[in-house]
């Protein structure tokens, strides 16, 4: 049963374990269900990626699509959905369909079709991780596949030009993000306190948009306006992937803390000084308001007592 399982996938950057949404989904699911996977990131070796990643290899079995990989893991008794009711299982399927229909086109577009993003970020990143000469061909192929998929599924009439298709898919993606945010609400994961398949899929699709630094980022800005989804991604990264969220090294964090302490001490000292000055002022005798000279003229007998009171 404990056959060694190896997962080949694209590597990561910008605080993510992988840049590819399907690879991220599988890695997240493996962490949630406790499956012991050895992760092999494709890194400029001559072992060319055959077909699509992620690919799971266990003994002689090779499985390539995320849905099939997850069902294989479940059969090996690594099940993250164990506590879900049947209805929640049904909801999972429905939300995954929603993600694939609405989020995936926009994700593909941001990575592969948006010209600035593709030329400055995606192509160099992927090309650096594939051996030459495949690096000249494979990113282009992936971009063509992405464009094909978007045009065939979304590009029918009445949307005739690519700009109209783009506008529609980004509208759909923003609506999908809003729906997910409403569904998540304030809970930590989608079905209570333990993460499940749906959390893996949502994380896989959202984290690349959230973290990768693209030049054209309107979807990222929209996502950042939904704080519960951002918190969801950050939680999974810190709890399950043990990467610091803000990217500060731990040493940097310590010095920041030390500075904060010093500042607090200074502020405390200042406030102590101010308090002392206050006390001094209060204790110091105050000059009472000067009595009018008419009093002196009024009564001679009473003159002495007010005068004695007047003296400091």
């Amino acid at each position: 049963m404990a056959a060694p399982m190896e997962l080949s996938c694209w590597g990561g950057d910008w605080g993510l374990p992988s840049l590819h949404p399907e690879c991220l989904t599988v890695m997240a699911y493996a962490k949630f269900s406790g499956a012991p996977l050895t992760v092999n990131t494709i890194n400029n070796s001559w072992r060319t990626p055959k077909g699509d990643l992620p690919v799971l290899v266990s003994e002689d079995i090779v499985i390539s699509q995320p849905a099939k990989i997850l069902s294989f893991l479940r059969k090996q008794k690594y099940n993250a959905d164990y506590d879900l009711s049947a209805k929640q299982g049904a909801d999972t399927l429905a939300y995954i369909a929603l993600l694939e229909e609405k989020m995936l086109p926009a994700l593909l577009h941001t990575f592969w079709i948006e010209a600035e993003n593709y030329c400055s970020v995606t192509k160099p990143w992927f090309a650096s991780r594939i051996a030459f000469p495949l690096s000249l061909y494979l990113p282009g192929k992936m971009a063509r596949e992405a464009l094909n998929r978007i045009l065939l599924t979304k590009g029918g009439p009445p949307l005739y030009s690519l700009t109209e298709v783009e506008a529609q898919i980004y509208r759909d993606a923003k609506e999908c993000l809003n729906l997910l945010s409403k569904r998540l609400g304030t809970s930590q994961f989608f079905f209570g306190d333990t993460p499940t398949t749906l959390d893996a899929f949502v994380f896989g699709f959202l984290a690349p948009i959230y973290k990768v630094c693209f030049p054209r980022v309107h979807l990222q800005e929209h996502l950042k306006q939904l704080p519960n989804l951002c918190r969801f991604c950050d939680d999974i990264l810190t709890c399950y992937f043990r990467l610091t969220v803000s990217g500060h090294s731990p040493a940097g964090q310590d010095t920041a803390d030390a500075n904060l302490q010093k500042l607090t001490q200074l502020v405390n000292k200042e406030s102590n000084l101010i308090e002392k000055m206050d006390d001094n002022l209060r204790k110091s005798p105050q000059h009472p308001p000067r009595k009018l000279t008419t009093l002196k003229l009024a009564a001679g007998g009473e003159e002495s007592s007010p005068m004695s009171r007047l003296s400091p």
């Binding site: 399927l93 229909e101 596949e145 998929r149 065939l152 599924t153 009439p157 009445p158 729906l179 569904r183």
Partner: protein, 236 residues
């Protein structure tokens, strides 16, 4: 898919007349069927039609809260993703069905050789799309398994309630009814697809209930239901 709309409009209590035309695909503004013609406006596809009807003051999903609306949208996507794609696959990618049923039906309004050319063109288009979304490599068994999974999910969600969101029908009910009824009543080479749906008794009861409630007593509607073949030529 026509049935989804009829069901939806019936649920909104709006009278509707169904007309079959061979050039319907070209009359529609988006090239997709079905479409409705109201006064001097023409609207096609489920999403815009729902918006249009909502703008006129009829809406089925007003009583739902935000989370339920999100769920409803998710389930509608599931149905579109799985059932619609499976129906398309079965019609155009399964060789036996294509030869015996789809080609003749699709090409029937046109003379030879136009009928063959048009149906091959459509088939090539559908196969391209299947390949792009990853269904190209699927066998019939895998497709049937996916349909089974989808029906299982729908059956779980419906449970013992009369409609998906308890007492009142919504767009989701109309959509599910349209697809399931079509699967149950259309004659194909094999009955495997309808068998899969029949495995879930609450889904068949759901279809029967909606049929009785919204379609009984309308002569023209029962005639369109009894003639699925002419309806299918309108659909594709």
């Amino acid at each position: 898919a026509t049935l989804c709309f009829q069901a939806f409009l019936q649920m909104c209590n709006l009278p509707v007349r169904v007309i079959c035309r061979p050039n319907a695909e070209y009359m529609s503004p988006s090239g997709k069927l079905p479409f409705i013609h109201v006064g001097n406006q023409v609207v096609s596809e489920l999403g815009p039609i729902v918006q249009f009807v909502k703008a006129k003051g009829h809406s089925l999903s007003d009583g739902l809260d935000e989370v339920q609306k999100a769920e409803m949208k998710a389930y509608m996507e599931l149905v579109n993703n799985m059932l619609l794609t499976a129906e398309l696959y079965l019609q155009w990618c399964d060789d036996v069905t294509v030869e015996e049923i789809t080609h003749p039906r699709y090409g029937s309004p046109y003379p030879w050789p136009l009928n063959r050319i048009l149906s091959y063109q459509k088939q090539w288009e559908v196969r391209r799309k299947m390949k792009a979304i990853g269904w190209g490599g699927k066998t019939l068994e895998q497709v049937l398994e996916d349909v089974d999974q989808c029906c299982h999910a729908l059956s779980q969600r419906l449970g013992t309630q009369p409609y998906f969101f308890n007492k009142h029908p919504t767009e989701l009910d109309a959509l599910v009814f349209g697809h399931l009824f079509t699967i149950l009543t259309t004659q194909l080479i094999t009955d495997e697809l309808s068998e899969k749906v029949k495995n879930y008794s609450n889904l068949t009861a759901f279809c029967r209930r909606i049929e009785q409630q919204y379609f009984e007593g309308h002569d023209r509607d029962s005639s369109t239901i009894a003639a699925p073949s002419s309806k299918r030529s309108l659909l594709k």
